[in-house]
């Protein structure tokens, strides 16, 4: 329950995010099994099948990243970490970015943990006032910040606008591991690329190639190699030409049948075997078409970021 809200004003026992529906919200409380596995050294990864995050074993505590996207999954994530490290409570929680489906429920995960977020993410979180999403106790700004928390050493990197606000990667140079959410994941993925800042997305993401890593942990599905990370960026790059050609061919970006027809004919021969191609390639194309029809969106979609190597 967020501060200032009485239980009598709530029709649901769970934190509600930004739901405005009256009555129960069954998905908020639903339990989801969390799978977890060790990655490298003290780095673990957790997933409920679609979303993925990491947590770190410290000397006396656990450093968790993100919360999953409902109160129920946040609690399940907390239980999973407790199963692995029963004597080590979650004392620090690091946000990847500000979206509720990744960081919306710190109050259910570890209400007493110290939350760390990039300043850009936290500004939105504070203004959003979402029920269950805890504002940061510690913010950082700029591009890079090193952390050493209870023996866990890592670097947080804000490469520029990619997806959401203040979206940051966690870099573990000694273990050649990079974790970043909602940017690169396997397959065509990500529907209409919600809240992506497309104009500079690819060159901003390529900044990570100046770092030494060979394991990429995305915010969805499974881990990727460095080569696969590059292949995914190549797919997004190819959509720039496909989108322009679709506009030139007269495809309506809001005509679902037309989008699917064009996608099948032109992207299909190259990409139809990619994960989730049949679900999302037409949506991906529609979003990229908007980049040329309407231009980049807002200040974040048009600011010229630093594209020098990290």
């Amino acid at each position: 329950m967020s501060e200032g809200t009485t239980s009598a004003e709530k029709s649901c026992a769970e934190h509600l995010g930004i739901f405005t529906l009256k009555g129960d919200i069954p998905i908020q409380g639903a339990y989801r099994d969390i799978c977890y596995q060790p990655l490298r050294a003290n780095i673990w990864t957790a997933s409920e099948g679609i979303y993925r995050t990491i947590f770190l074993e410290g000397k006396k505590s656990v450093v968790a990243f993100d919360t999953f996207g409902t109160p129920g999954t946040a609690r399940a994530y907390a239980w999973a970490m407790n199963r692995v490290f029963p004597k080590k409570p979650v004392e620090h929680l690091v946000y990847s970015h500000e979206h509720l489906d990744h960081t919306g429920y710190a109050f259910d995960l570890a209400p007493n943990a110290k939350v760390i977020a990039h300043d850009l993410a936290n500004r939105v979180i504070v203004a959003r006032e979402s029920d269950g999403q805890k504002a940061a106790d510690q913010t950082w700004s700029g591009e890079r910040q090193e952390f050493n928390i209870d023996g866990c050493t890592f670097e947080m990197i804000y490469p520029g606008p990619t997806h959401g606000d203040g979206n940051v990667a966690a870099y573990f140079p000694q273990h050649k591991t990079l974790f970043m959410v909602d940017t690169v994941a396997d397959g065509v993925g990500y529907t209409t690329l919600m809240d992506w800042h497309l104009t500079h997305y690819i060159p901003v993401m390529k900044r990570f190639l100046s770092l030494d890593w060979d394991l990429f942990v995305p915010g969805h599905f499974w881990m990727l190699t460095r080569e696969r990370f590059i292949q995914i960026l190549d797919y997004w790059q190819s959509l720039k030409d496909f989108a322009q050609e679709a506009i030139i061919a007269g495809v309506d970006p809001h005509d679902w049948n037309d989008l699917n027809r064009y996608t099948d004919e032109h992207l299909g021969p190259v990409y139809r075997n990619e994960f989730r191609y049949y679900e999302y390639a037409a949506m991906n194309l529609s979003r990229y078409m908007q980049e040329y029809l309407s231009g980049g969106w807002g200040i974040e979609g048009n600011l010229k970021p630093n594209l020098s190597p990290l």
Binding site: G17, I18, F19, T20, L21, D24, I25, P26, I27, Q28, A30, G69, E98, H99, L100, D101, L120, R123, V124, A127, R128, E129, S130, Q133, G164, D165, T191, T192, M194, D195, K240, D241, Q244, E245, I247, I248, P253, H254, D255, W256, N257, E279, Y280, M283, S286, R287, Q290, Y292, L293, S294, G295, G296, W297, G298, I299, E300, G301, N302, L303, K304
Partner: protein, 304 residues
């Protein structure tokens, strides 16, 4: 002749960019006109010696066709000013082709985005408006320009014509259901912001796309978006696979078809609308625009 290309990089885009479609002009009064290329729609106003044009349409060819339509309807009156409804290239991308010497007027946020974008053909505004309401006069044309909050795009200005009882607002409410994936909409404040226009006295609504509607059609449009937002929450709350087109179309379309199924384009577009809007609730909205108090992250980074 050099071609303004917006953000296009492919050489084969030339024919698309240069195409000049037939424009349809309709007089709403002795001074106010609405114009469409069959898809996008705008307005222009006749002054004593010149014309104030809203927007430019979305390619150099369409901008020239717009200019020709104005010259045909109002011969001898040059375009002295262009008012940008918002920042998107499909509406305001080609002032350099429409009227390169015209004064360009826009909301401050729109101007900042245009400046940051640097798209070829999209002229940076020369006169900046700030605040929710501006009353300006150009060549004896009195204009009321309104930006009551985040709706669509950046710095979206509506124009209110009290004498004609007309409201123009681009890419917000439509007279049909053909919203598609609803690009760059700010849902947190969208419907309340749009309903605030009902405090004004008007009975003709000119959207940025497709045909005109009336006050009742506008209210129904607000109701439609609001009902879609509610049904998207129900879908999410009840475990509908929210990333998939067909299940979302089935759930939300099924719930709304009796009430809104008669809107043109409902069946073909409700699935896309549902996919987009349900993500608002999944993710919490996008940026400060989608927070209760509004605002724009990093807006201070651009000076105009």
């Amino acid at each position: 002749m050099s071609l303004n290309r917006g953000k296009f990089t492919l050489e084969k885009a030339r024919a698309y960019l240069e195409h000049e479609p037939a424009m349809q002009v309709e007089a709403l009064s002795d001074r106010l006109f609405t114009v469409t290329d069959g898809h996008c729609r705008s307005i222009f106003v006749s002054g004593l010696k010149s014309v104030v044009a809203f927007d430019t349409f979305g390619t150099p060819g369409r901008a020239r066709a717009y200019r020709n339509a104005i010259e045909t309807r109002l011969p001898g009156k040059p375009i002295s000013a262009i008012i940008y409804s918002h920042d998107h290239l499909d509406h305001t991308g080609f002032a350099a082709d429409l009227a390169p010497k015209a004064e360009i007027i826009a909301d401050e946020l729109c101007a900042k985005v245009v400046k940051a974008r640097g798209a070829e053909g999209q002229t940076v505004p020369t006169r900046i408006l700030r605040g929710q309401r501006n009353e300006i006069t150009i060549d004896d044309i009195s204009l009321v320009l309104l930006n009551p909050g985040p709706t669509h795009g950046s710095g979206n200005l509506a124009a209110y014509f009290e004498k004609e009882r007309v409201l123009f607002s681009s890419d917000t409410i439509l007279g049909n259901a053909k919203y598609g994936f609803m690009p760059d909409y700010h849902f947190r404040n969208f419907v309340p912001t749009m309903r605030s226009f009902l405090e004004l006295d008007w009975d003709i609504f000119i959207p940025g796309r497709f045909g005109l509607t009336n006050r009742d059609g506008f209210i129904r449009g607000c109701d439609f978006i609001e009902a879609t937002m509610t049904e998207c929450q129900r879908a999410f709350a009840n475990f509908v696979p929210i990333w998939l087109y067909e299940p979302m179309k089935g759930f939300v379309g099924g719930a709304l078809s009796e009430r809104f199924g008669d809107l043109e384009g409902f069946d073909g577009h409700i699935g896309q609308m549902a996919i987009r809007i349900v993500h608002h609730y999944l993710m919490g909205g996008w940026g400060l625009e989608d927070t209760p108090s509004g605002g724009v992250l990093l807006a201070d980074e651009i000076k105009v």
